[in-house]
Amino acid sequence: MEKSLFDHVAEEERKNTDSRANAPQEFSVSQLSGMLKRRVEEEFGYVRVRGELSRVTRARSGHLYTALKDEDAVLDSVCWKGTLSRLSVQPEEGLDVVCTGRLTTYPARSNYQLVIETMELAGEGALLKMLEERRKKLAAEGLFDENRKKPLPFLPEKIGIVTSPTGAVIRDILHRLAERFPRRVLLWPVMVQGQSAAAQVAAAIEGFNALPEDSPLRPDLLIVARGGGSLEDLMPFNEEIVVRAAASSKIPLISAVGHETDTTLIDYAADLRAPTPTAAAEKAVPVRSQIAAQIRDQENRLILAMQNRLQRHKQALDGLGRGLGQPARLVETAVQRLDQAALRLEMGLKNWLAQRGARLRESAARLTPAALRARIAHDGRQVKNLAERLETAARRKAENDARRLQNTAALLETLSFKKILARGFVLVTDGKSGKPVKEAAKISEGDFVGLQFHDGNVSAIIKAKE
């Protein structure tokens, strides 16, 4: 045991009493221990102390007993069960931590100890600063650019998982996958903490990507997962080789490292960051029953739409058909017209023939000898009439002519010898013939002669011839 505080305090007390009185006050051990306890608890009610954890022991009761130490000193510490579960750091041997709490003494053992209330990693500030600088450096390289992010497949056929083959993480992922949409899973087992973890994780990501496109083992989605842990535990997923491997993965990659509040650098490089491994499985596949329902819905709509479509077309067609009229009816009309035309043609021909026949018969009837005879008789009468008229006319003309000639001749005769007669001559005419007698020789005694004077005629008998 180290030199106890008791000695030191007792000495102090003694000095104080020495200055007041010569005889030191006498205490019982318990009294003194009690005084000391009060003093320590008042003085060190709330302290913040940094040290390395050593002799970490979890008691059966659930309390944690440990010691904080540095190069020269050790401080016994205890973390009660209730507090222990709330610690942000899992106490582990050798961790450099900063604890807050109160000091108390353990009089039964003449001991003092720290009752831990909070614990954080001592190097965390420095570590976080280093990580932030690394993040900025990699971001400046463009490793985290949004345009590098690949869309996740809607329904991956094969899912590659990079994680520990044992533990809750892989089980959680597989369970959630089985619930949602059972898939073929290719597990690339790796250490997820410790010295070689980063190299193994990076090699697994690269290994999956190195598989040929047509390899039956090449997944179309990667999940890199790890359960919750301290910042140090998650450190492999902050390592540059892991971040670079994730960023250059051709296969879409989901990171699911630690708890929801933990962010590691691989999350920036991943195509999608899932808050937990279970969430990664949810992001990886849709829910099979929902998809099946969706497809059924689409199928129903497809069939309904097509039925409606056909119904519409049928109605449109019917409408058009009505507009078009029935072909039979069209033909009927035409046939009727043809029949009528044929009938009229026939009738027309008959009528025509009948008409012509009638006319022929009529003509034939009129074409009798009687008619001709009548005509001939009529014509004959006319000829006779004309002939009579011609005869009459001719006779009359002849008579006229003769009379005119006679008259003219008579006149001429008269005029010619009457003048002579006037001068005392007489015209002797044959009594019988009346013809002039110009020679005496022609007359014989006893003949009757006519003597014509200018003023009348007398008959005479010739008495003697000389």
Partner: protein, 84 residues
């Protein structure tokens, strides 16, 4: 021949593309776009896509394989179980 060609074309379509295509066809049919001829073609394609999707859904089967690295650097897988 043509039928076989069409099926092999379908085989290459991813599930999501098939589903998106199916949804597109349904929307177009519901909107009454296209002539009757093309809508019948679209309908037949929709039915084929739906069957393709259902086949993919039925094929859902969990299989867990663990990758092992061989000495020559190649990768192989063997079925495994992680329960327990």
């Amino acid at each position: 021949m043509a039928e076989a060609q069409k099926n092999s074309d379908l085989e290459k379509i991813s599930f999501e593309d098939a589903l998106l295509e199916l949804e597109k066809i349904v929307r177009e049919l519901e909107a009454g776009q296209g002539d009757l001829e093309s809508s019948i073609t679209a309908y037949e394609k929709g039915v084929a896509l739906k069957q393709h999707c259902e086949t993919k859904l039925k094929a859902a089967q969990a299989k867990i394989e663990k990758i092992t690295l061989n000495e020559n650097g190649t990768v192989s897988a063997e079925e495994t179980s992680v329960d327990g």
